[in-house]
Amino acid sequence: MSADDTTPPNASTPTTTSPVVVALAWLLVGVPLLYGLWQTLVKASALFTG
């Protein structure tokens, strides 16, 4: 096993993964989360208006 194979990743490790794939993965979880956040904010607003 080469040294590179065992080097722990860090912030400066270069990546070859397409940024589009990373963006799609975050969209997949981000969209439902934003939907949940929005719905909760609407519900929470009743505290100040209700």
């Binding site: 490790t13 993965a25 989360l33 719905q39 505290l47």
Partner: protein, 464 residues
Amino acid sequence: MSRLDKQAIVAGPGYSRWLIPPAALAVHLSIGQVYAFSVFKNSLVESFDTSLTAIGWVFSLSIVMLGLSAAVLGTWVERSGPRKAMVAAAACWGTGFLIGSAGIASSQLWLLYLGYGVIGGIGLGIGYISPVSTLIKWFPDRPGLATGMAIMGFGGGALIASPLSNALMAFFDGDFVSTEPGAVASGSALARTFLTLGIVYTIFMLIGATLVRVPPGHGDDATAEHSPGTNGALVRASQAIRTPQFWFLWVVLFCNVTAGIGILEQAAPMIQDFFRENGDSSVSAAAAGGFVGVLSLANMLGRFVWSSLSDRIGRKPTYIMYLGVGLVLYLLLALFGSSSTAVFVALAAVIISYYGGGFATVPAYLKDLFGTLEVGAIHGRLLTAWAAAGVAGPLIVNGILDSVGEPGNLVAADYRPALLTMVGVLAVGFVANLMIRPVAESHFDTDAHADHEQRSSNRQEATR
């Protein structure tokens, strides 16, 4: 070697570590549904023609199974790797919904206990710990941030599931309007909602399992390079539970969760009771519902914000804040909470953000104490504190409140004994946190420690 094995999911050169948090979130957002189970309560009570307590047991059972399965299967999860664990979690969580759906459709409550409570609960436990160890290995420089992102998803899952479930029940039952007080969906609509959620969550979790990878060099535990704890500790799970540090941290988590549940359990009636004069509350039922929403947001954000902060200020000081500042805030809530709704909401929101933060920061604390060797398995064992607090918290609060009356018809002073009890609980946790010291060398795994020393020495030689 199957495609699920750890050896099969070693990241190739250049695989972005920023794909791992969404993989973890796909799992945690799905299993976080459990905290939205209450949206089904009224409809389930009607459908099974049973008591609220009997339906409440479904949720309690799933949380107890979460703690037990995380403890018992933690080592298996650690050795099998995140993909196999995520697939197992998806299978259990999805199957739990499907069996639950069959139970509702056939009016067999025991099937709901078995499906959602037991099998689904096992899925919760496996799913909860499945990405934790992997995240810490991918983000050795920011473990608090990494696990905070995933465990924030568990809080966020309930925010999604609550409106989604209401929308599904309304879709399958045209007469169901979730905003109407006491609205109940038909048994058929409930069964279809469970079926739909089971399928959706299974697919979502399997996408997470497809995305996840272990870092280069971590395909085989025996040859992997593990990050030691702050004093060089690399400790196996079987040894970790023999250290005082594990049990002090168990007490810390238990106390933090118990105190948080003290507010979460009674949030809506509590805010109305705090502002009740001459029998009438100045806080409407809708505003009380809004307060529950504010707490949900604080719970979710606290998981990410405070856990990320812990990377900068250290784990012990972070828990000093959760328990020490939390204790003072609880005291202020008990004594001055009824002075204004703004003060009450602000105090409660910060307290609940600490509750969420306590969950999210604990894996990084374990990493600091025991290293990454079996941190996932150790985390699994520690989660028994959550299961215990899930039983003890409501017992303490309800026990004290029952002696003065029924929540929803009380006044601020009636809550003081329960809140002051929680101040005591937090004080115990605060002391336990102060007692945590680095793990003694006698607990280190000899082979893993020697291997790490050898690799460090080789690296130093190479750079000379």
